[in-house]
């Protein structure tokens, strides 16, 4: 059987794809393909615009030509677009995808619409590691930062999960232990900020706020594998997420090995969010906001929700970077600042519309 869509006159809300001989069938909200297509085009458009603006403006057509390695008649374009601006844009997009996905998974797991990767201590752990590195070791190489940040995020998340595990896990214990350990990590970060050398502290603050400034192909290639590996795992587990988001009892009675699934999914969240934070610092609100927007667009089924949330995240970060670069030009605002400033009012608006 191929594609099966409802009758012509009354379109069904679902799109069912069966895999013929493969033991695979997919049931998607009908809106998903269109939302994904429009989202992808919008994100690409913003990326092209973003690569065109700056101290050295380049028309969008020339940006496109340069990316596709077509001649534009200006030898500077290749360096500016392909070496400086393209990797930064791709990093921004990937970071957005990772944060959006992580947020969507975590909100389902904790059954708390306000949960974001921050409660797993990822931001706090990465922040502590990176700020310590910047403040304590004055002239440290910038290439060590992502490594330290990822290590910090991973260790704190592991500690939270380990401490919350007691003959099975529980979303409540997880959240509360997360609060406690995050508070401790943040206190140590504050200590660094209070007593560190003022110049280092300011650099640390920029990092803490989240920025894709000066990111290169190195960061892109370091980030990509995480998404390529963990993205499909998340999609494979999408149906289990649907069950888990109904509550442990329901999921168990549907035959789900709840603790195991939650463990794997938390691992996915830590990997995605940790890699994102290691690359770009803590870009706030994307992990919180993207899943909400996605849910409004394609409904609650996770198979459609996850890719939509990822794409929404990418759009948000790319747009925030564009705004941050142009708003106070030539001064650049870190995009984490912009996501918070745009995200807050939008978030309020979104939630109130949802209630009516």
């Amino acid at each position: 059987m191929g594609k099966q869509v409802g009758q012509e006159n009354t379109p069904a809300p679902w799109l069912v794809v069966r895999g013929g001989r493969l033991p695979l069938s997919v049931r998607l909200d009908r809106r998903v393909p269109w939302v994904l297509l429009v989202g992808l085009l919008a994100t690409l458009a913003v990326m092209v615009v973003n690569m065109g603006v700056g101290e050295y403006p380049i028309p969008p057509v020339d940006v496109l030509k340069t990316v596709l390695h077509l001649p534009t008649g200006n030898s500077d374009h290749s360096f500016i677009v392909n070496t400086l601006r393209l990797p930064r844009m791709l990093v921004a997009a990937l970071v957005g995808v990772a944060l959006g996905l992580a947020g969507a998974i975590l909100q389902a797991l904790t059954r708390n619409p306000l949960a974001s990767p921050g409660i797993l201590g990822i931001n706090a752990g990465a922040g502590l590691a990176a700020v310590s590195l910047i403040v304590l070791f004055d002239r440290v190489s910038a290439s060590l930062l992502p490594l330290a940040a990822f290590g910090g995020a991973f260790l704190v998340a592991l500690a939270i999960y380990g401490l919350a595990w007691r003959a099975g896990d529980s979303p409540t214990r997880l959240i509360l232990i997360g609060i406690g350990l995050t508070a401790v990590a943040q206190a140590l970060t504050t200590l660094m900020i209070t007593f560190g050398d003022i110049n280092n502290v300011q650099r640390a603050l920029v990092w803490l706020t989240g920025s894709v400034y000066g990111r290169t192909w190195d960061e892109f290639w370091a980030l990509l594998p995480w998404l390529v590996l963990l993205g499909p795992v998340a999609l494979l587990l999408a149906r289990d997420l649907d069950a888990l988001s109904l509550g442990d009892e329901v999921a168990r009675s549907l035959g789900s090995p709840v603790d195991l699934q939650r463990g794997i999914l938390l691992g996915v969240v830590v990997g995605l969010a940790g890699a994102a934070v290691a690359t770009a610092g803590t870009i706030g609100f994307v992990g919180l906001m993207a899943p909400h927007i996605a849910r409004r667009l394609v409904g609650p089924g996770h198979l459609g929700l996850l890719p939509t949330a990822g794409l929404t995240g990418a759009f948000l970060v790319v747009t925030a970077d564009l705004v941050g670069r142009t708003l106070l030009a030539p001064t650049e605002l870190p995009c984490g600042l912009v996501t918070a400033a745009i995200g807050a009012p939008f978030f309020l608006y979104l939630l109130w519309r949802q209630r009516s």
Binding site: A183, T194, I198, V201, L351, R355
Partner: protein, 347 residues
């Protein structure tokens, strides 16, 4: 869209303990508070023996250095720590009851973010450098933000429901702290000036500053204690509370006012001290149960004791360098809190 409720956070509804035991606990707590107050007067950069502390309090000799230290430095500081600790813990308990969210603390209602922005604006735009003016701006920022959050929350569908308040608070907090960070990133002088204040500290506060904010804090505490029964009802859900004949909108507005007075006043005098508002109420509920008529006074006692201990530890740990007490609270309380959660939360 359920925010996790406080009742599951403490591992299921616990029946209230016997009245006698609770009263005895309060008396014991008060005695402990007095003992720690005295200890806080004795320990520090210069150690002063207890008899001399006693003499400084009741037979003051203006010629003795130690007497001066006790009277002008340590007494105000200890009082500030006790009052701020009590206020923050009670404010946190109120917010958690009001929003039925275990993640709730005064920071959620935008109080810390508003106060911080107030102080940063004071330094950045108005070149203000004195602590008492910091306090004024912090209080104004806190009160304005909390009012805005409450207004936004009440404006949403269904009035000031837990979810509305929490979301409005989280959103406004993110917005304001991004402004604060922007100023701090763009202006190094402001960062230098406020970073110690931002860590939270009770050092160098004098009696004049305390007198400035004490009325707000005490009024807030009285108001909170008066609302104990109503808050307990609200934690059972708006429908239940209304069914029991409660005017929930009024109770919420009054509780929000108490939170603004308590947390706003605390931040004004000591900076944004985290952890206490978030975690002390949880600890107290583990012992006392979920009846806010008892949770609130116990939270006040526990908060005061905890901040005093943290302050003494902050003075002694790296003597003569002092750690900001806001850092100390998390370092001391974090592990203890994790221990409690691990062994007391079953589901």
């Amino acid at each position: 869209m359920g925010v996790v409720t406080t009742s599951t956070a403490s591992g299921g509804l616990r029946l209230v303990r016997s009245r006698g035991g609770l009263v005895a606990g309060l008396v014991l707590g008060l005695a402990l508070l007095l003992a720690i107050l005295l200890a806080s007067l004795a320990f520090g950069a210069a150690e002063i023996p207890l008899p001399e502390v006693w003499a400084a309090l009741f037979a003051f000799d203006a010629g003795a250095t130690n007497h001066l230290i006790v009277r002008t430095l340590r007494v105000p500081r200890a009082l500030v720590a006790a009052l701020v600790g009590a206020s923050l813990a009670v404010a946190g308990a109120l917010v958690q009851g009001l929003t039925r969210n275990p993640l709730g603390d005064p920071g959620i209602l935008g109080i810390n973010a508003g106060a911080a922005l107030g102080v940063v604006v004071a330094v950045f735009l108005f070149q203000i450098h004195t602590l008492s003016l910091f306090a004024l701006f912090a209080f104004a920022g806190a009160a304005l933000t909390a009012t805005a959050v409450y207004g936004l929350g009440a404006w949403g569908r269904g009035g000031p429901t837990p979810l509305n308040l929490t979301i409005a608070g989280a959103a406004l907090t993110a917005l304001l702290s991004s402004f604060t960070t922007a100023i701090l990133i763009l202006n190094q002088r402001t960062l230098e000036e406020v970073r110690f204040w931002l860590a939270g500290s009770v050092a160098g506060r004098d009696l004049a500053l305390l007198a400035q904010v004490a009325p707000y804090l005490l009024a807030g505490l009285m108001l909170a204690f008066g609302l104990g029964r109503q808050i307990t009802t609200i934690t059972l859900g708006d429908d239940v509370a209304r069914g029991l004949g409660q005017n929930t909108a009024w109770v919420k507005a009054l509780a929000a006012l108490a939170v603004v007075l308590l947390a706003g006043g605390s931040v004004a005098v000591a900076g944004p001290i985290g952890f206490i508002g978030l975690v002390i109420p949880h600890m107290v509920r583990f012992w006392v149960g979920v009846d806010y008529r008892w949770v609130l006074p116990y939270a006040a006692l526990a908060g005061a004791i905890f901040l005093l201990i943290s302050d003494v530890a902050a003075r002694l740990l790296l003597r003569p360098t002092e750690l900001p007490v806001g850092v100390m609270t998390a370092l001391l309380g974090g592990p203890f809190f994790i221990y409690l959660v691990r062994w007391r939360v079953r589901r």
